[in-house]
Symmetry: C2
Subunit: 515 residues, 2 copies
């Protein structure tokens, strides 16, 4: 058994079931090994950013790593933007990056690159195998590394000769890592803050936005009146009718600072202190008030659920949470031209139970999120690292992880173009994804940002850099070219009918919503 097959069997033994791939010559041994290894589903992506973004979506939903298979430094580079997002989301991923055979590297052939350097930029753990025998052992370590701190990126660099040489077979699966626990002292500090009677927020992020932790947070809120606030761009939030309501920190720094201005105490749970997404002339980076006291109950990567439970126990809270979201959706507007409110109302009304939403709707997303607060319970995933081109790949990965749930990709046009190749994989794998391309023909957020960074009277060349109407992108034609059955909606009624049909149909569909 060669090194590649040993590694693949080890990954499967360790519970890795899916490999999002875009292989090249140096990864051919892994490709060949897939047929010899029961239990690994290979998913081909036509661009590495799709593969890494899909691994992110898979990891967020499955709470265990998928593998990726990438081709040397440039192949990894193509996937780095979405690995940046995955890093910020705390997603477990095992990247397998092929490299030239060890003895070939000194010859500096055209594809030679500093694979280690590329890997370190987006990975918490990087290792190059020492030999064919070592490849499987390194794989077992990679899976454990990916599960450390509740999820991180582990990159294993596999020289081609280690893949094709004979090995001693699979390595033993290693024990799963344990999560760091909050100290009794910090739990006591948080309890004291909540008993202070001062205006306090629990600022929730990461795994603290999944239902078990949210329910405990809701019980704490019932006992103390604390406000529950979430990160602006959560990796994954369980929300909708019947779940604990959480306020969302606004995106724009001024609005966020205003939102936070009366808080005297903030308790961080799975989140970091709120800071401005970008810097703006004369605006603060730090968003909390100067006199606000912060308690870091459980940093991202720690055991947030147990920390919240310990806090609840210290406070002797009731069994039922406060502020359960009632089922309530906005009325669908009278038929007319489509706008973000109309899209939000239709999505809220038609949201399937246990849908998974991939939200890269940018400016429009600001409206879609509140509109759907009281829709049927669902998971909502956001752009965690700000590197656009996440949404469609994330939907691919979520659909692979959750084949029995409907996935909705709510997607801005500009960002969609970044990793548009994801549409092809949706068809190839017959994934149950309804993609809504919200086409406003511009990088609309940048028109806002242009003013916010202090530009007045932007000229025609500047504005043309934010404009996507020359030429207009015909998303129906584009998506049909990759095999996705697609329609275009220009009115609320059309959008409603098309979304209803798409949701009732199992398999990939795309709706171009013109706003």
């Amino acid at each position: 058994m060669n090194g590649a097959e040993s590694l693949l069997k080890t990954l499967i033994d360790a519970g890795v079931e899916v490999c999002f791939s875009n292989p090249g010559t140096s990864e051919m041994q892994f490709v060949a090994a897939i047929d010899n290894c029961e239990g690994m589903q290979p998913v081909l992506a036509l661009f590495e950013g799709v593969a890494t973004g899909a691994a992110d979506g898979y990891g967020r939903m499955a709470e265990k790593p998928a593998a990726t298979l990438l081709h040397l430094g440039p192949g990894l580079a193509n996937g780095m933007a979405n690995l940046h997002n995955a890093n910020r989301a705390g997603t477990p991923i095992v990247n397998i990056v092929g490299d030239h055979a060890t003895y070939h590297l000194p010859f500096d052939a055209p594809l030679t690159s500093d694979v280690n350097g590329y890997s370190n930029l987006v990975s918490s753990w990087v290792r190059v195998s020492d030999s064919a025998d070592d490849l499987a052992a390194a794989g077992a370590e990679a899976v454990v590394a990916a599960m450390e701190k509740a999820g991180q990126i582990a990159t294993l660099i596999a020289p081609a000769d280690h893949a094709w040489e004979e090995s001693q077979g699979p390595a033993a699966v290693l024990p799963q890592p344990t999560l760091e626990q909050a100290s009794d002292e910090v739990i006591q500090q948080a309890a004291d803050a909540l008993r202070s009677g001062e205006e306090t927020a629990i600022f929730l992020g990461g795994k603290a936005l999944l239902e078990p932790a949210l329910t405990v947070a809701g019980r704490i809120a019932e006992a103390t009146g604390v406000r529950l606030v979430c990160e602006t761009f959560p990796a994954r939030m369980q929300r909708g009718a019947g779940r604990v309501m959480v306020e969302r920190l606004p995106y724009f720094g001024e609005m966020a600072a205003d939102f936070l201005k009366d808080f005297k105490r903030i308790i961080l749970v799975g989140s970091k202190s709120p800071v401005s997404f970008f810097a703006y002339p004369g605006k603060p980076s730090w968003l909390s008030p100067d006199d606000c006291e912060t308690t870091n109950l459980a940093a991202p990567g720690m055991d947030v659920l147990t920390a919240l439970e310990a806090l609840a126990a210290a406070l002797d809270v009731p069994a039922e949470p406060a502020r359960i979201q009632p089922a309530a959706v906005p009325p669908i507007p009278e038929d007319g031209k489509l706008d973000p409110m109309g899209i939000g109302a239709v999505v809220a009304n038609l949201m399937p139970e246990q849908a998974v939403v991939s939200d890269e709707a940018a400016t429009c997303g600001l409206t879609l999120f509140p509109c759907t607060a009281g829709a049927a319970p669902h998971d909502w995933m956001m752009l965690t690292g700000g590197a656009i081109g996440q949404g469609l790949p994330l939907a691919v990965g979520a659909a692979v992880a959750c084949p029995d749930r409907k996935v909705l990709a709510l997607q801005a046009d500009g960002s969609a173009m970044y990793t548009v190749q994801a549409l092809w994989t949706m068809v190839r794998e017959d994934l149950d994804i309804t993609t809504v391309i919200i086409n406003n023909g511009s990088y609309a957020i940048l028109n806002i940002e242009l003013q916010r960074v202090g530009v007045e009277n932007a000229g025609p060349k500047a504005l043309s850099m934010l404009d996507l109407t020359n030429p207009v992108i015909d998303w129906v034609s584009l998506a049909e070219g990759m095999g996705v059955p697609s329609t275009r909606a220009t009115t609320v009624q059309e959008f409603h009918d098309q979304l209803r049909d798409a949701i009732n149909h199992k398999g990939p569909r795309l709706i171009e919503a013109i706003i």
Copy 2:
């Protein structure tokens, strides 16, 4: 005048005329400044890999740098694969990468990344500005750095506060760097090698494949009988009827080693010693015979033209070169199903004078290159670094650099998907590019490589990873979605008629050639 405007004016003063852009919030000051600075053409790309690949194509043709404008580490990462190719091509490029305001970096906002680390992986020169005043000075240095060694990548990291703060205005343009010259001693060694009477090759790469150097090489060949051989994947080669004929080193290592086996001496001019593109089990990395003596007349980045002229002078060669390529094109096959030979014959027959070819035709390119040897004189550009997704962006950049020349993008389907967004920019800028998508529905090269790395009896999952027919990509629909007038050809006659029409029409066209 703020730092952004000072930098832009400095770049323009230094001769930079085009900026291939995909900006975000941290680059808005540069976007705004474009309207205040006469002489900078902004070209929007819908993905950074298009911007960097276009800068590569521009630089290869214009022999001076374009700028790119990229958004922090992830934006740069999206452009890194084509910067890898540009690096291998020796192309001058000035990247302007925005970063967070200096004071914002410690807050680790979501898009914070090690921009310096990303930049160093693909740049020969990296600098972060020290202040708004320093930004323009750093820009002047960047242009010089980009022109060093006949072309390299210079990356200037521009923190947002340096862009928006007041500055003292543009910096002075710095003198152009001079190229390193071959020593008299090495010229003498090369002359001795050529006088040895042993089988000798001049191995040409980089600028040695442009007409002035080729003509000198041809004169040396006339005097000495030396064989002229070029790199497998030249950055830019001037060829066709009336130009000096050059043999091309085969791609596959075994064939390359066989090609080289009788040479006793190799003289490198603008190239590195030939090595295998990948490693294969039991096959050598080093391709020249063990008893072959190598003379490095002028390394890539040195003054190759002057070195060849000095060598010619030392040898007292005649005024006219040997082996001028006669005008000769293959006959167009009788009408029938399209194949690479048919495509090659039609392209050769219809090749416009002074066309610029971007060849990322992969397996099919192996046929197209020899077919067009005797076509009308043209420039031929290839995939220099092996990171696929170069071809369409390269065509964009070449067309911007050479608005009066027809650009032909001969493009494999699998690689085309990587940076398919380039089609949109072709329409936006009304570029005179005819794209031929050679659709064989597979990563065909990998089917060959799978066997070459020793895989026997590949299974169905393995083969599915190389297959692009599930679903079939409809390139006409895909390209029309981005506004490119497109047609499909399945016979030689259809392809001939469609290519003739596309060439006679000025502006972007796409032909999907089904093989």
